[in-house]
């Protein structure tokens, strides 16, 4: 091999983020010193982003199996779940936190683009998107700029791409002032048997790159280090990757069309680490090699260095391996969609051990010769077990006692109600979601029927007709996780399942987005380990295996420290029978309101305690897994037996906010009574888990009571639906119109 540059040293490796041990390992793998291009390749492939080296050992402890799982976690671009009738749902969540902190509009937009590519490279047509967002203190102009940019970025990309954004969650806390979180979720549908794989085999089969040209996007670390080696790069590097939803839409249609031909051997989206990632992962999986001529890669700038072409993270690109001889057919499809596609190489044989090699050429010279298997997760990429240690504050938080804060008096209720209903963490997200096209695809069943989770019909061009709907939600109250990562992560899973159950769906599977600080900080790593343990246990109990997801570390700054540990749960549920659809809105005046589940004398980590009483140190709210499972089982039965008119889970803001939300959605009021056995604040505003508000019509009441008396779950009649006004213990706490106006307009007024 001709080497134009001097061989890099351990020092250069360090600048690329490669540890001295790792450098030695590379030398062993190659049997010689790597050149700069090869070192760059290992540095990105062994980065946290691609190799999950600091997290994979723990991720492997999560439950990954069920009867419905068609692809195990990490095997494909996204998880794949059998939803019956020969159809599968492919779904995944992914973060774009750091790019969004730098440039919120493009960062969020490219996040949406990336997650959708993961879905449609499997041959699945995306049908719905969600997002989970975290921002800092909304009173800061910087936070408002970030929220505005992220919302517009998600909207402009998703709207043009043409897949509805049907729900999501947003929380604000000052711990996210410097590091906002942007997690995007997408779900798509594919016929089982028509799923495309991220693999490569068949000696001589052509390798194509399709979509956008390759620019010098996202290769900063390597460029920084390359300055020591050569003056290869003189052009300025783009600080931001720009998304092109128009290109993505064309790529979606063309990709589904080529997969439908049956001539695609393998296909993979180019996200992190670009060409090197897709060539190595596909080759390792298919146990073959590849020879790639980098001169044939269409580039946006002339004279790009080999490492720049290999590592570029330019958006809207795919690597495709097809059957030899079918090039014309594939080319025709891309021409039809005005997309560039270029053959850049072909599949080569692997030795008997299946360890294929990747050979990259530039200007006729071999510039890198690396074994695919050693680059990838599950192959030769390193895996580390980091030290962890419980942070000191956890024990402090646990010392909280409810009697250190005064209870609310009846006279306080109006004030607390106004505080909570207009609080950015609780009020309507209308200002945000009206900027998203939530209805394209004519499949969103939640537009005119609000519920705890979004219901989307399984429907779209090329998808066989069915009555099924998917039921999807994203959930994580990171304040709970911060207070107790094990319990907090369990609650995130439980709440997601509860939302799906209250909507009439059956929870099937989970994708997770694990957002944490620096994993080399033992206290941060403890957050991670505890959260994964809690999540794993909860997912096992709910029989919702984790199909995959994304880990985002380093969400921390020198000023603010780490963000709250935020293990966001994206959950997929299924509604086989459209009649099981349940909504959260109160229906008729006179319907009876019941609480399913037990009240608790608990205000821990509630919005009330945190922002109204301004007590920030308290443990996670009360949570009991057995109670949770029992409540969810009962709610499922109440829905299928048609014994309730509405169901809404109690979460942020407690019982009062849950009842108020059901009332607002139905354009009704309510009159409820507190229970003398519990503190008023805990009863109304506490966020203890495993509770659901249901309403029951006069015709249903006898059947409901009869059923509940036999159920082993506590329940209580708490009041009734009225025409207007929110009444507690006989006293008007707030008028319906005032409440609705506060709730609907609070965020818009802050953002105006």
């Amino acid at each position: 091999m001709e080497l134009l540059d001097p061989l890099p040293t351990v020092e250069t490796a360090r600048k690329l983020g490669v540890l001295p041990d790792e450098f030695d390992r590379i030398v062993t793998i190659l049997g010689r010193q790597p050149n700069f291009t090869e070192l760059s390749i290992f540095s990105v492939m062994w980065s946290e982003h691609c190799s999950y080296k600091n997290s994979i050992i723990w991720l492997k402890t999560l439950p990954r199996d069920s009867d419905r799982m068609l692809a195990k976690a990490g095997e494909e671009n996204a998880g794949l779940v059998d939803i019956g009738d020969g159809l599968a749902c492919s779904f995944k969540i992914e973060s774009h936190n750091h790019p969004s902190a730098l440039e919120p509009y493009q960062g969020a937009a490219t996040g949406v683009g990336g997650i959708n590519r993961d879905i449609f490279t499997m041959g699945a047509r995306p049908i719905a998107q969600l997002n989970s967002l975290r921002f800092g203190d909304l009173s800061l102009p910087k936070t408002r700029r970030l929220l505005r940019g992220v919302t517009k970025g998600i909207g402009d990309y998703g709207n043009a791409f043409g897949i509805p954004t049907v729900g999501g969650e947003i929380y604000f806390d000052e711990c996210y002032n410097t590091n906002p979180l942007v997690n995007a979720f997408s779900a798509g549908i594919v016929e089982i048997g028509k799923v495309a794989k991220a693999t490569s085999y068949g000696v001589g089969n052509p390798v194509f790159i399709v979509g956008s040209a390759t620019g010098k996007d996202g290769i900063h670390g390597a460029t920084f280090a390359s300055e020591d080696i050569s003056a290869a790069s003189t052009d300025k590097l783009p600080a931001v990757q720009v998304g092109d939803p128009f290109m993505e839409k064309l790529l979606l249609e063309a990709t589904l069309e080529i997969i439908a031909t049956g001539y695609v051997i393998g296909i993979q989206d180019m996200g992190a680490a670009g060409i090197i990632c897709s060539t190595s992962e596909m080759s390792a999986k298919g146990e073959h090699g590849m020879v790639i001529d980098l001169d044939k890669v269409p580039t946006r700038q002339p004279n790009m260095a080999p490492f720049e072409i290999l590592l570029s993270e330019s958006q809207e690109r795919m690597l495709v391996v097809i059957e030899k001889g079918k090039e014309g057919i594939i080319q025709g499809i891309f021409d039809k969609w005005d997309l560039h596609c270029a053959q850049i190489g072909e599949v080569t044989a692997a030795p008997a051990d299946g360890m294929g090699r990747l050979h990259f050429y530039r200007y006729g010279q071999l510039v890198a010769d690396v074994p695919a298997h050693d680059l990838v997760l599950g192959g030769g990429a390193p895996q580390y077990r980091r030290d962890y240690k419980e942070p000191a504050y956890i024990k402090e938080f646990a010392k909280f006692r409810i009697n250190t804060v005064p209870d609310v008096t009846p006279a306080d209720l109006g004030d607390v109600a106004r505080h909570l209903l207009s609080h950015p963490n609780i009020c309507s997200r209308r200002w945000v979601y009206e900027q998203y096209d939530s209805m394209v695809g004519t499949a969103n069943r939640s537009t005119n029927a609000p519920s705890d989770a979004a219901v989307v019909r399984v429907k779209g061009a090329g998808i066989p007709k069915t009555d099924k709907s998917i039921v999807i939600t994203v959930d994580c109250n990171s304040r709970y996780v911060n207070a107790n990562p094990f319990t907090g992560a369990q609650i995130a899973v439980a709440e997601a399942a509860r939302n799906i159950v209250c909507t009439g769906g059956e929870p099937l599977a989970v994708t997770n987005n694990l957002n944490f600080g620096n994993p080399y900080v033992p206290e941060v790593y403890w957050h991670f380990v505890e959260a994964v343990k809690g999540m794993g246990e909860a997912c096992a109990r709910f029989a919702t295996p984790v199909t995959g997801g994304n880990v985002s570390f380093y969400n921390q700054s020198s000023d603010d420290g780490p963000v709250f540990p935020t293990p966001t749960i994206g959950m997929l549920g299924l509604m086989e029978n459209p009649d099981n659809r349940m909504t959260l809105n109160f229906q008729n005046e006179g319907d009876t309101i019941y609480l399913i589940g037990s009240p608790q004398n608990d205000v821990a980590s509630s919005e009330y305690l945190y922002s109204y009483r301004k007590v920030k140190a308290s443990p996670a709210p009360a949570f009991d897994m057995e109670q949770e499972l029992a409540v969810q089982t009962i709610v499922k039965q109440l829905i299928t037996k048609k014994l309730i008119r509405s169901a809404h889970d109690i979460s942020d803001g407690g019982l009062f906010v849950a009842v108020a939300e059901s009332a607002m959605a139905g354009g009704r009021g309510f009159a409820i009574n507190t229970d003398g056995e519990y503190r008023r604040d805990a009863y109304l505003f506490g966020e203890s888990q495993s509770r659901v508000i249901v309403s029951v019509s006069a015709e249903q009441q006898a059947g409901f009571e009869q059923f509940m008396q036999k159920a082993h779950v506590s329940y209580s009649q708490i009041g009734s639906v009225t025409a207007s006004d929110y009444v507690v213990d006989g006293q008007v706490v707030i008028a319906s119109d005032t409440a609705t106006s506060l709730y609907n307009n609070a965020l818009g007024e802050i953002m105006a």
Partner: protein, 83 residues
């Protein structure tokens, strides 16, 4: 003295310009194949009161840096005239 500033804001050379790319495709579909490298930016015209052209330019430059251009992705150029 009132000065007239003409400001051109363009996506930085190394940044992808999806709009320019799509417009190029549209032009090629109209058989204008000889057109290449289409890039689309913004043109802003504004007036500024200042004692001197240098002062006016400094004000406009600050306006570009702080608000008008997104320096992470865009570059700008200013032409000053007396109004």
């Amino acid at each position: 003295m009132t000065y007239l500033a003409e400001i051109d804001i363009m996506p930085q050379k190394e940044i992808l310009d999806p709009q320019g790319k799509a417009v190029k495709l549209g032009l090629h579909n109209l058989n204008m194949d000889s057109i290449d490298n289409v890039r689309i930016g913004k043109h802003i015209r504004l007036e500024v009161d200042a004692a001197s052209e240098d002062e006016a330019r400094a004000t406009v430059d600050a306006a570009c840096r702080q608000l008008l251009a997104n320096l992470i992705m865009e570059e700008y150029s200013i032409t000053m005239k007396t109004a």
